[in-house]
């Protein structure tokens, strides 16, 4: 069966072990996690996890049902029509680049230069995962020192 990429939001009670329960479920049942982000939801006892996974239709269905079975899981949203963003931070050595080039490049990916030091600068992009892939590819021309991706956050439209 064909594997598809899926973005799933999981709303969980903000309590000890809950991340281990979710990640343990994926590990124990052999499901993939491409990325996982989690942060608490303001003014609530809940946290929002965004998980990017892939699998056949049956596997995705099982993932969602098994997540539902976890006692602290409040809601599972299988995103269909969504806004999806991921962030990347990339560090460059000043000697390798022209700041204006980097600024222009990252502006094209909804970001820009966010920090500059004596010998290096850090640029940021926030965009869809595919576009972040492209951004990182483009950045390879400038000999990046370090690349950190955030994982996806998503919101249903």
């Amino acid at each position: 069966m064909q594997k598809v990429r899926r973005v799933i939001s999981v709303i969980v009670q903000n309590e000890a072990q809950v991340l281990a329960r979710v990640s343990g479920l994926f590990a124990g049942r052999g499901y993939n996690i491409d990325s996982l982000t989690v942060a608490s939801i303001p003014n609530s006892h809940m946290s929002h996890m965004t998980i990017v996974t892939r699998g056949s239709a049956r596997v995705i269905e099982q993932i969602i049902k098994q997540l539902h079975k976890l006692i602290p899981v409040y809601k599972v949203i299988e995103h269909d029509s969504m806004v999806e963003k991921e962030m990347v931070l990339i560090k460059f050595a000043l000697k390798d680049i022209n700041i204006a080039d980097i600024q222009a490049l990252f502006e094209a990916y909804n970001g820009g230069v966010v920090n500059a030091g004596e010998n290096m600068i850090i640029a940021m992009a926030a965009d869809e995962s595919k576009r972040i892939d492209h951004c990182i590819e483009a950045a390879q021309n400038y000999n990046p020192i370090e690349i950190v991706r955030s994982g996806v956050v998503a919101m249903e439209r």
């Binding site: 099982q62 539902h68 006692i71």
Partner: protein
């Protein structure tokens, strides 16, 4: 009222109506054991191993329908309990296991007898808790019992650090539970139920596929009635033996790897499988692409994750078997014509006549199947039967005449050798009016044999019928069939003196080599009301048949084994 955490644990157990706790003390749980000493509302049974405590509590739950309770200490106490938790988890048995933990301030320091209990048990419990604040303890205990018994039942672990059981706080045991993230559905979607009714009315070869969920939901009367008013034949899984009753005309038998010919053909040829609390286990389905090829599937289960997990389902219904079956009966009873399925019933009957579940008896050597049949003739519905895992388990499931649910207690999902004896102790504790017989093998029985002492100490008369073939029989059978008779590490010719072993522990032993001796031993064991071993020398090379080789299609059964 102010009380210690340890008192709270005991109070909760009392408030939940538990009469028995199975357990084993140790450093981190001592505060609770001190409170157990001071009360007399429930009885504590000291097993000789933590694994056995959990199995006994598990069987207590299976026989009584109540939540079983076990108690263990931290570290090795807890890790010994893990097999028990996993056994209960696979068979959806409601359990609350209380484990001691080292004091909170020491957690994470590799303290003496520290182990990450919630981490280890996460994947083999329905839910688990590490209590971090005594203020949470009453709520957690209440939730643990509620989660264990509601929805799809399962074991819940409550891990309590020692300093929490010694602290004092106000004890307000909640009357009800409100977990916003946990709301099992019981009722079943009415539109789906109506569609299922229409599908049954349209079908020509419908089949009830009855699983352990029917037992858990106490739905056997409803399921028998549904079968009866519709005239629909039924197969029952290993976990559901007894639901239909052995003398029920509509019962075809047990399907699966060691199911009857007629049952497996029924699954293969049916055009509508009505699954009631079954989960399409690989031991039932055989090769999936060949499984029930001509059938639409109605899948009724309280756990949505079971539906569509293994096979595609045409009519999914999430709900409690009892409630949904009542609704099915209500809607179908005036419309259904049992004669519609007459031909189908007669086909299955014919299959059973052609290849009945049978064995070749002998006068020279005792056949293990004969022992099971004879047991059935002598004790029948007066007994609760527990079993270990292997050939004897399959023979018991095949040949014992089970007449009611909760009469048959075995580790179906996990297949835990060593389950039988502690389970027999739990089963007898739950219902002492029944004769309790553990059908076991010379391999399995040694895995929790220390429980003979428990049974003797507490005067729990359980009869262990050892089908002794001097082999790990099931593995030996596979080696015969699939490994060219290379009997790698399965020969158990070196044996203990069974009679001396059980007598050293305070029981009675019988060595049986003839059919007459078996009858005498069994009748004597029943009369003596003591823990007993009936060591029956059976045919060493008897195989469990029919057999669907692992991964084979259900309709391709090996009906006999011919020496090559």
């Amino acid at each position: 009222m102010k009380m210690s955490g340890a008192q709270m644990v005991c109070e909760a157990i009392i408030k939940e109506g538990c009469k028995y706790v199975f357990g084993y003390p140790g450093g981190a749980i001592m505060n609770v054991y001190d409170e157990i000493y001071k009360q007399d509302s429930f009885k504590h049974i000291l097993t000789r191993h933590e694994q056995a405590a959990v199995h006994a509590a598990d069987a207590y739950a299976r026989v009584s329908g109540e939540v079983g309770v076990a108690m263990v200490t931290s570290g090795p106490g807890f890790t010994n309990a893990v097999t028990g938790l996993a056994t209960a988890y696979m068979d959806s048995i409601p359990l609350v296991v209380i484990s001691g933990q080292i004091p909170i301030s020491l957690i994470g320091t590799d303290g003496f007898q520290e182990v990450d209990a919630v981490g280890i048990s996460r994947s083999c419990t329905k839910h688990n808790y590490l209590v971090r604040d005594i203020k949470d303890l009453p709520r957690i205990l209440k939730e643990a019992f509620y989660i264990a018994r509601s929805g799809r039942p399962g074991p819940v672990l409550v891990d309590i650090p020692k300093d929490i059981t010694s602290q004092e706080d106000e004890f307000n045991y909640p009357d009800s539970v409100d977990i916003p993230t946990y709301k099992p559905s019981y009722k079943g979607n009415n539109r789906q139920i109506k569609k299922a009714v229409d599908a049954i009315l349209q079908a020509k070869k419908p089949l009830l596929y009855i699983g352990g969920g029917t037992v858990l939901s106490n739905a056997y009367k409803e399921v028998r009635e549904l079968a009866k008013i519709c005239g629909i034949p039924a197969v029952e899984t290993l976990m559901a033996r007894g639901v239909m009753g052995h003398d029920n005309e509509l019962l075809v038998g047990m399907p699966g790897m060691h199911g009857s010919y007629a049952s497996n053909m029924a699954m293969s040829e049916s055009d509508l499988i009505i699954s009631l609390g079954a989960r399409f286990d690989d031991r039932v389905t055989g090769k999936l692409s060949e499984f029930a090829k001509y059938a639409d599937i109605i899948h009724i289960d309280i756990d949505p994750a079971n539906i569509g997990k293994i096979v595609d389902v045409d009519y999914p219904i999430v709900g409690d078997i009892k409630i949904v079956t009542q609704k099915l009966i209500e809607q179908i009873k005036d419309k259904v014509k049992p004669q519609r399925y007459e031909v189908w019933r007669s086909i299955l009957k014919r299959y059973d006549e052609i290849h009945p579940l049978t064995f070749e008896d002998s006068n020279e050597v005792i056949k293990p199947q004969w022992v099971i049949k004879r047991l059935g003739e002598i004790v029948g519905d007066k007994a609760t039967i527990t079993s270990d895992v292997g050939q004897h388990q399959m023979w018991a499931a095949q040949f014992y005449p089970f007449s009611r649910p909760r009469q048959w207690v075995n580790s179906g999902g996990l297949g835990t050798m060593g389950y039988g004896l502690p389970a027999a102790i739990g089963a007898k504790t739950a219902d002492s009016s029944k004769i309790v017989i553990n059908v076991t093998g010379d391999g399995s029985i040694l895995m929790n044999v220390q429980e003979l002492v428990t049974a003797a100490e507490y005067d729990i008369p359980v009869i262990n019928v050892i089908l002794n073939n001097h082999f790990l029989g099931m593995v030996r059978q596979w080696q015969t069939f699939f490994y060219e008779k290379r009997y790698s590490e399965t020969d158990l010719s070196y044996q203990p003196d069974w009679k001396k072993l059980v007598e050293a522990c305070g029981g009675i032993g019988y060595n049986v080599t003839t059919k007459d001796e078996f009858d005498k031993a069994l009748n004597d064991a029943i009369e003596k009301k003591k823990v007993t071993f009936i060591n029956v020398a059976v045919d060493r090379f008897e195989n469990v048949l029919p057999m669907v080789p692992a991964g084979g299609a259900l309709y391709n059964m090996m009906l006999e084994y011919k020496e090559r």
